[in-house]
Symmetry: C2
Subunit: 467 residues, 2 copies
């Protein structure tokens, strides 16, 4: 088990698609994706009728396809009852890994559970490792391999590895990610996890150079001890693991039973164990993705002292409430910082924290002064200007760069401390910021969301042990 190398799941050299079709919607998506994304040469397809799929020849069975092998990965999308025999046949032609996408197993009741046990028995007997069933497999934004159809935008590489138990949930998160600033390294959907589970993938991701943070949605843990050890392994490699668990409440746990047939277990026990292993608990889907974006872009804060720079006094106040309520504190600026800002500030400006710059226009210099302050552990930045007041300024990324400062300076600072932006206002402003600065500055929908994210980064177990 310790020698398990899952790399070929994300970058297979030879792929066998069992149940290939250009008519069945779900299966067609898999074939189309692989053919359109540069995997045509690595792909062999099996269809019992032997008819062409998207104009390419198929084999009538697994044995008949053996000549195209050896395969390092098979993707199965056939009716559930036919799966056990397919596993045997794949073992016979030496295929070590299977992504089993078919549904109709433990999630459907006792008969399906029996069929799933049969699959596991056969796989164990012949040494084939299985991801699924009832999943959509994996996506890799570096190799661009995917065992499901994904939007082109979802393939923009980033540092977030997503592990979702349900296939549908993993897919809709992938569809949703690009418009929410979330960029993936890999995505894995576990499904009923009859064999490979979240611990296997966490151990793999701990060593994955493309992954900076792991975001997980689980409805239960396959093996508590192995899971916690794997979380700890990621932490040792400097990778935060953020976990959203469904079934926190009684009715939620009941709903879990009929969804992925998991045992939600005691929530308090889970919470305590996760914390001890160094994992971070997310309270909601937004909290999970807010944290994933932050950890992808920034280090955790070294301390709780937050500088808040704003152009809206009200946003500064709302953020201050959130900072305080979530266990952070407002930094006291060093005298040098105050002097630097005073030297450039208009007379009406009060120099405090939150630092409300109003329409002063001294944003870039004030930001630079605060970033140099040794008494600041993190920066929340809320530059929002009424469109009506500065419509001439909203012309594109160049104007924004003049406003906020040299991207290189901000990028260097963002390597030392978290800088989280938020924006309430003219929507194009956020696009301009992203175009000017790239993705290293995560942008949140409100100052309160940014403050909460920062607090959860700080309260992560690493920070706690330093307190």
């Amino acid at each position: 088990m310790t020698d398990l190398n899952l790399y070929n799941l994300f970058n297979p050299s030879r792929i066998l698609l069992v149940g290939a079709s250009d008519r069945v919607l779900f299966s067609a998506g898999i074939a189309r994706y692989l053919l359109e994304h540069g995997f045509a040469d690595r792909l062999t397809m099996v269809n019992p009728s032997g008819r062409a799929v998207f104009g390419r020849a198929t084999h009538t069975g697994i044995a008949a396809a053996a000549g195209d092998g050896p395969f390092d990965l098979a993707i199965i999308a056939i009716p559930a009852p036919a799966v056990p025999d397919a596993i045997d046949e794949l073992a016979e032609i030496g295929c070590p890994f299977v992504i089993l996408e078919s549904a109709g197993f433990a999630e459907t009741g006792p008969d399906g559970a029996a069929l799933q046990r049969e699959v596991v028995d056969r796989a164990r007997r012949c040494g084939v490792r299985v991801l699924g069933p009832n999943c959509v497999g994996v996506v890799d934004t570096t190799t661009r391999f995917a065992s499901t159809e994904v939007l082109e935008e979802s393939l923009r590489p980033g540092g977030v590895a997503l592990i979702a138990q349900s296939g549908v949930f993993g897919s809709i998160l992938l569809d949703w990610a690009p418009s929410h600033g979330l960029r993936m390294s890999k995505a894995i959907t576990l499904g009923n996890r009859c064999d490979l589970d979240e611990a296997d993938f966490l151990n793999f991701l701990a060593d994955d150079p493309a992954t900076r943070v792991v975001a997980m949605y689980l409805e239960g843990v396959a093996d508590g001890r192995r899971f916690l050890d794997a979380v700890a392994a990621c932490r040792r490699h400097g990778k935060p693991v953020v976990v959203l668990k469904g079934g926190r409440t009684g009715p939620g746990a009941h709903a879990v039973g009929s969804h992925t047939a998991s045992l939600a277990g005691s929530d308090a026990v889970f919470e305590g164990a996760l914390r001890q292993a160094g994992g971070i608990r997310a309270r909601s889907l937004e909290h999970l993705t807010d944290l994933a974006r932050a950890f992808d872009a920034c280090p955790a804060p070294r301390g709780p002292r937050v500088a808040m720079i704003t152009t809206s006094g009200s946003q500064g106040i709302l953020a201050t409430d959130a900072i305080t309520e979530h266990g952070l504190e407002l930094a006291r600026f060093a005298p040098e910082t105050i002097a630097r800002v005073r030297a450039i500030a208009p007379s009406w400006m009060t120099i405090g924290n939150p630092l409300d710059l109003g329409p002063s226009g001294i944003y870039r210099d004030a930001i630079a002064a605060v970033l140099d302050d040794p008494q600041v552990d993190a920066l929340l930045l809320h530059i929002a200007i009424p469109w009506g007041s500065v419509r001439e300024l909203f012309t594109g990324p160049d104007a924004i760069e003049g406003l906020l400062g040299d991207p290189a300076v901000l990028r260097a600072a963002a390597g030392r401390m978290p800088i989280l932006l938020s924006h309430v206002g003219y929507p194009r402003f956020v696009e301009f910021v992203t175009e000017a600065y790239g993705s290293f500055l995560p942008i949140y929908p409100t100052a309160e969301r940014a403050a909460q994210t920062l607090a959860s980064m700080w309260q992560g177990p690493e920070a706690a042990s330093e307190k």
Copy 2:
């Protein structure tokens, strides 16, 4: 005071702009907006130099402009020290209302506070009513009058009246509203509220036919008793009042002091009094706007029994946790409802609540059955389908109508009970839904946000008194 009619603030017949300019950014926005939005014939402009502004003649002073009057509204955008005399001159030409947008008063310190007192003294003496200073005045989406420059999209009419203390905050919320599905009836920024305050506007909005819900951001209350009476007046007219208050924490209250010179006061006292008056407390800006959207579209639920219909088991589970944690409960479907759904459901589908429809495609009929169930007080609907599985379906609004059902049926049901949608997935789907159904179905970013919104609607004081 009881005869105060603020209507002319939102629909003035003759407007005097004091401090008109096409060079000073902020002032230029006011003139440009009025000239470009059909108010040219009602507008007279004063500029001390007497030079043309946007090609239109100006008067050198208020007295000189009298011949164009009588004016029912003056908008002032001149340096603060000149404001007291301007108030006297406006009184002399019989102008009853002033929107005072100039800054440089109580928010800047003792000198500014003294100047503000001078303004109030003069206004009281001559019976002129003043909104501001340090504000951007009002926006009315029915008359399209605005005393500040706003985006065309922000003028799409809706039932949400926004009252914001700060001008900047009001402006950036207006910029932000259209892309977040929030449609306004009116917006009012109070600024330092030296005279007209939130209670005056609440009393006015209680009778305003365009307003269905009032959303407020306050940093303090001008007069506690009058405010609570005005909240109660809105409730008597069936209009929920949702209040976000900045300065809940000690550091937040401190920041309030240097922003709008308000006293944040004891948060617990405010919370209790607001609740007693029938107001609803918002915890964050997102919570405020989530509630405003819901109340604009839907009645409050008659009870706590929620039906959750989903295509993603995981989203159903997360919503169930949120429903339970926020004091709502899952409805038990009536036997007739279960029978109706069973009759059309595929064999693999478990019929429960949450009702996970998966890829069954029976959405419109299942939704109709649940909406007819007398044991259901509210519906959460999360139809999210992986793009890869149904890319052919994502062709436009027509496809969505086929999916979710006849808009007329849903619109009728939404008049009886709240129906809150949520969507995680392919972003265009949300646009298609809005195009197919209009704005009567509010759409939330996650099922958890929709569940929290519903819980806050139910826990509103009206619902509480029925429990």
